[in-house]
Symmetry: C2
Subunit: 417 residues, 2 copies
Amino acid sequence: MQHRPRVIVVGGGFGGLAAVHTLRSTAVDVLLVDRVNHHTFQPLLYQVATAGLAAPSIAAPLRHILRMQRNATVILGEVRCIDIKGRTIDIDGVSHPYDYLVVATGSTHAYFGHEAWARYAPGLKTLEDALRIRARILTAFERAEATDDPIEQAEWLTFLIVGAGATGVELAGTLAEISRHTLKREFRRIDPAAARVLLVEAGAHVLPAFPPSLSAKARHQLERLGVLVRTGHPVTDVDERGVSIGGQRIAARTVLWAAGVAASPLGATLGVPVDRAGRVPVTACLNLAGHPEIFVVGDLAVPRDVAAVPAIAPAAKQMGRHAARAIMALHAGRELAPFRYRARGSLATIGRMAAVADFGRIRLSGLLAWWVWLTAHVYFLIGFRNRLVVLIDWAEAYWSYRRGARIIIAAGESPKR
Amino acid sequence: MQHRPRVIVVGGGFGGLAAVHTLRSTAVDVLLVDRVNHHTFQPLLYQVATAGLAAPSIAAPLRHILRMQRNATVILGEVRCIDIKGRTIDIDGVSHPYDYLVVATGSTHAYFGHEAWARYAPGLKTLEDALRIRARILTAFERAEATDDPIEQAEWLTFLIVGAGATGVELAGTLAEISRHTLKREFRRIDPAAARVLLVEAGAHVLPAFPPSLSAKARHQLERLGVLVRTGHPVTDVDERGVSIGGQRIAARTVLWAAGVAASPLGATLGVPVDRAGRVPVTACLNLAGHPEIFVVGDLAVPRDVAAVPAIAPAAKQMGRHAARAIMALHAGRELAPFRYRARGSLATIGRMAAVADFGRIRLSGLLAWWVWLTAHVYFLIGFRNRLVVLIDWAEAYWSYRRGARIIIAAGESPKR
């Protein structure tokens, strides 16, 4: 009788989950490991960070998603190390053997050697990050209302976002909307509409991954929403009370980091030299040259001889599915096909009724792009309950500018008492 | 021209918010202080703790609730001290003068001199408590799945709730439902239905505030749901791995505390001797005998010459409204009316389609009481969005046993990485 192969997948994001799903009707045993118990719909993290959605609306428990897939086991735990020669993986001190391994641990924030900035300028990668940012934003308005000092008030009412990729643009646009509309009539000593939202970018354009015409439109839409956009100067210092940029000091009590990503540190433990961002070079078939049984997918992987793959959810899903099929091919002794990324288009939302969409020849901006964005994001959310609740929250936000999750909870920080 | 009186209300719970609301069309300036930015619908905290509802579904920002009340200002902050003679209150170092003061800071957990138990057996009073308990419960099942040791597994699958008042009964009933239904098919190495849920109570009856016939029915309903109920023995020790009770040791990795409440520590700073639970004795008009401008309402107050007032939301609301009217009477030089508690009935839910209701002559239990409970709780929730989303979540839970908020977020604990 043939040995039933054991596949371990590390990471329950878009890439890892796609790999597990693709193995559902095959004669393998799959073990999925993650250090959180839920799959996070990362494209909507900024909505949690800006109090538009509750955290559970964009997350689903991994074991609930996989409850019907009998060949999949889910373990909540931290991968301590991978023994490549012995083909085992250590999860919180317990050793698990594998025949095939899929590493899909994604990326984290990068501060380009200035790790000290992390405490002043949090990044947005996990639900805990989102709750921490939500608490910071809401607390800033509270502090401005509580103080009598006009200088301090102005500092609390200045919000600065570093990095004008998709996340930075989303955060800036939504913050402008919150200050101008959502908080109307709620304060007695400050005018929230007087808040300044600055978006700073070291490169020449906002949304650099988009064609220049759409970048320009995005910038115009941001400015119409009230965001102050500054491009062409990198941030040179960040502290508790603001940033330095282009030789100038900007006082801001709330600084958010959307400037850089670094690959998950697990990539560096796979025995191959990683690139400057910590990503793992893999073959065109997505596995390691010296260890064909190890696959790397998603943001962590740099496939050789493949046109650049963007760090977005659809790409991670395609890579996850490819790795799963390659494992079945390897096991059957068939030849592996190279991965080919199929671009489905790029979307970025800017704010209320403002977005850009790039489908190659078709390029949209404004209201139409926003509807496409909205439909796509509700469609791809996991779980009927989530879709329905997100639609209700968005409908309410659309008609009344209200945001349903404006509560400050000290996630990740010890409570005061 | 007459001086426009300043009223400071400390605490945005049911009592404080009722006082602020009642002053809405009067010629006073109201300042509401709270250390969190939201009003919490405490009767549904156990639903957040058991992953049935997202935290924002049972909370609303105080300043959003009061946005239309032009004479009300909201400040997020901690009351450091009250200068009774100078009639000022210190909020985070800033002094605020008052003509009338309403203290409505409620209660917290009491461990009867065993404060060390708090870290092993968390109580449920705030949203942060609820998220912490949610993380503990969900993590316990994860740990049971991850370990190979059958003894450890059994310990992780034992949940013990101390105290069989309304909160203890709600937690026990819901935990039994989660283990038997919600988690079905989701684990591969453990059977969640094998989990033991113990409810221990020092007194003779569960729900001691209810008439004996309903207490007995509640116990029967709990046992039918699979809860092991033990009455008549107090807990004598609590540590990380279990409790001691009646000379016996019970190993349980998850212990929840629903046994005792102590009044908020602010009560002890009002210059009058407090009772054993830290509550403040007030006149029949709810103010201090020596300082008629200071009112105390809600769980923190013990009105003299008034039949015992239960520590429930409707009582706090009535006291808040009474204090506001008394302030207007005092200011106009009219005589104060004594407070009279109007009992509207008591409700406690036990689990799926199980509850008890006591309306004096009318006593209900089972399905009918559950419908009354459900209707009342949706009706009293603040905010249309919350009512709609809670209904959706409950409808889904009813039909499919699913719970929409099963995500582990380390609220109040520092994240691992």
